[in-house]
């Protein structure tokens, strides 16, 4: 029995749109699954099924209405649903990594500094962080002449690869991937698959969304069909 790093029990989420007369939109209900160290759990199901919402709840980006989201960190177990904001901030610094669908560009911050940042947060020294960031950018075919520039003017695919490098730079025990291969060509998809394999070998628990069936088949240890968690419309 492998050690679970992340466990979800009976998690539910809906949105209440106050600007639309209090319209209530149920998203998902009864979500339960676990991810163990070294395991890649892929969330499957059609667009709009609530896959991204699950990742955002785990990262503390969305509030969770019901259930438990247990993160087993080195320092103890935290339930994201009831955790204080500063506990979630600490988990993001030490335990939870996240690659979003889009890079949030910060004006004037260079590509290399963006990728280094999570390593510096973990306490890595400047030289080691720079070396690792360079390795990842090279592995993802981001040309070295771009590393000193802020990614604001890069193409969508380049920005996404910077985003992936940043997410994979950190040595967090849990990594959440929201469609990291969406805008990548075949060579770069292969690079991402290699990075995922490295993380699994290092004992990282991964929960990911991949629309590309080929990538999904290559990385998934478990596929969780999110469509089975569809919430009932309130009567």
């Amino acid at each position: 029995m492998k050690l679970p790093r992340l466990e979800l029990f009976d998690v539910a989420k809906s949105f209440t749109l106050h600007l639309q007369g209090g319209l209530r939109l149920p998203v998902i209900a009864n979500v339960s699954f676990a991810a163990a160290a070294g395991e890649c759990v892929v969330l499957g199901g059609p667009s709009g099924a609530g896959k991204s919402s699950i990742l955002k709840m785990v990262y503390g980006n969305y509030r969770c209405e019901r259930g438990e989201i247990l993160v087993h960190a080195d320092t103890g177990t935290v339930d994201i649903v009831t955790a204080a904001p500063r506990e979630i901030i600490e988990l993001r610094r030490t335990t939870l990594g996240y690659v979003s669908q889009f890079l949030r560009v910060i004006p004037r911050v260079s590509t290399l500094d963006l990728v280094k940042e999570p390593l510096i947060e973990e306490g890595a020294d400047e030289a080691a962080a720079e070396a690792r960031a360079g390795e990842l950018l090279a592995a993802l075919n981001v040309p070295a002449r771009l590393w000193r520039l802020p990614p604001a003017t890069f193409s969508g695919g380049e920005q996404q690869r910077v985003n992936i490098a940043r997410g994979f730079a950190a040595e967090r025990p849990i990594l959440l991937l929201d469609e990291p291969t969406a805008s990548l060509d075949a060579a770069n998809r292969d690079a991402v698959v290699r990075l995922i394999d490295e993380k699994k070998a290092a004992g990282t628990a991964i929960v990911g969304i991949f629309h590309d069936a080929d990538v999904r088949d290559r990385v998934a240890d478990v596929v969780v069909d999110v469509a089975t968690f569809a919430a009932e419309m309130a009567a």
Binding site: H18, L19, K56, Y62, R63, R86, I89, E90, R93, R108
Partner: protein
């Protein structure tokens, strides 16, 4: 780097902070904790009470009710409004910074840039002219003011430069807590971006705690870990900054977030 979540308890604890101006409510029954290394944004429209709250916290205004406790450098929590005037002045000169929206309110306009920074150092007992000048020049460099402007007074500076100078003046004494009132208000967007990036870097490098009042949700997103949303003098929503912005719960917060213009 000391990040959020440092051990040893909160740096500041506010409970039941209420301020009336006659019959009119400034802010009502506000409580929160600020931990070392955390940046808290207070957002809301003008008139929502956010500046009143900031001024109460920074002891610039006496609240009608409520207690604000602060962890002094000796580790003891003290009631701020029960400090003696001398203790409070020392705190404001050494352990705190206050960045005003208008740099004129935070700078001495007829004193050179170097003097503006050096003055804060002298207030904490630094007497060696060479050290003061060296430290001041170093700080001007950190806020991207060229060394050849050190003897110019801020009347000759642009708005963005003045604001950067005000930041240097506040940070030179190594404060643990900085209050900021609309630090990027009134600046051009390109100047804002530069200032925000600078502030973000300084706050992270120095492990500062900060309380930032802003009506600009993009500023809050970039700078803060946590957020209080105020309306009509009360806090109507609070939480992690990205959670409040990505999954707002209160009707008013949903309105604010949906009103952000996309470029």
């Amino acid at each position: 780097m000391t990040g959020p979540g440092a051990k040893g308890g909160p740096l500041l604890r506010a409970s039941g902070i209420t301020k009336f101006y006659g019959d009119r409510v400034g802010c009502r029954d506000i409580g929160f904790e600020l931990w070392p290394g955390e940046v808290l944004a207070i957002v809301g429209e003008s008139g929502s009470g956010k500046t009143t709250l900031l001024n109460c916290l920074a002891t610039r205004v006496v609240p009608t009710a409520g207690v604000i406790e602060y962890r002094m450098r000796d580790g003891r929590m003290r009631d701020l409004h029960a400090l003696s005037d001398a203790e409070r002045r020392l705190l404001m000169r050494t352990d705190w910074g206050f960045v005003h929206q208008n740099p004129i309110d935070g700078l001495r306009m007829t004193v050179s840039a170097g003097g503006n920074v050096g003055e804060r150092l002298m207030a904490v007992g630094e007497r060696h002219y060479g050290h003061i000048r060296e430290t001041a020049t170093d700080w001007l460099g950190r806020v991207e003011i060229a060394a050849d402007r050190v003897d110019d007074d801020p009347r000759s500076f642009s708005g963005g430069m003045r604001q950067r100078l005000q930041i240097a003046r506040n940070l030179v004494t190594g404060p643990r807590l900085v209050f900021m009132d609309e630090p990027t208000g009134g600046l051009d967007v390109s100047v804002q971006a530069r200032l925000l990036d600078l502030l973000r870097g300084l706050v992270a490098d120095l492990g500062l705690s900060a309380i930032v009042v802003t009506h600009d949700l993009a500023v809050a997103r970039l700078l803060s870990h946590r957020m209080l949303v105020m309306k009509g003098g009360e806090v109507i929503e609070e939480g992690l900054t990205d959670q409040v912005l990505d999954d707002p719960q209160a009707a008013y917060t949903q309105l604010l977030v949906s009103s952000i213009l996309q470029v």
